[in-house]
Subunit: 164 residues, 2 copies
Amino acid sequence: MPNEQDLSNLMEEQHSLELLPIGIIHSPFRATGKAPYQGHKSEEISRIEVFKEFQEGLKDIEGFSRIIVIFWFHKSQGYHLSVKTPWDDILHGLFATRSPHRPCPIGLTVAELIAREKNILKVKGLDAIDGTPLLDIKPYVPLIDERSVVKSGWLEGKLGAERR
Amino acid sequence: MPNEQDLSNLMEEQHSLELLPIGIIHSPFRATGKAPYQGHKSEEISRIEVFKEFQEGLKDIEGFSRIIVIFWFHKSQGYHLSVKTPWDDILHGLFATRSPHRPCPIGLTVAELIAREKNILKVKGLDAIDGTPLLDIKPYVPLIDERSVVKSGWLEGKLGAERR
């Protein structure tokens, strides 16, 4: 349970948890259900348009071959705490899945950065649908973001064998 | 440039980009500047409290040894598009850094899940400060989240040699 101080801090913060997108994702996936379950398997190219006012913040990004793209699941409406996925017929806890339907509908994909031209990033392996609001871009750094000795829980051995 | 349809979609979405936290992070790092630059080097234990109303969504999470913790940089105020970091004296584009001061102040750490007890997750390697609002938890899946053949840009060889 949060103590009173935590709660009061949190309530205070709740007023400020508002986001304005920093860009928009242009992708070949035109609608929900058209995006691949896992972008990393896709050879399709997406264009991330960072609004011009943020272009300065992209300096040096081209030195990274992978970037973490954080976006808003703008077509997501509501959620269930227990969900089925394409990988089996069992109900799993939502937070043990990558379902787009979440209390905070934030999506995250590690994509391959092909090229940058001014405020446009050309990427491969992004599974966001066309028109997706962009929230953030972070450099992907193996020493920070990769983790060895991993148990993949209920997903173990299932990726690549999804059922449509 | 976004076309008119994109813009109108985006404007529509801008009203709805509001987040309510799903929990709160209790950590030994009491203030900004006390958290390690990279959580993965830390042996400290943090407790992620997922609010009870979301507990059902944690089912099966304990099968994963790593989780992606997404949180709100609640102490972050404002940002600069060009920033210096602990790793060198050069100005880098904000989006080529992991600075907490960002237009959308969303933080992301891959943490080691030690144990779950009901709605509490005990984790190692989380660099969020005490009282941080929790936005989302996703299972870390190497096949999705790990990327080989990586260039680490300006950060190459610098991690582990940060200057205080």
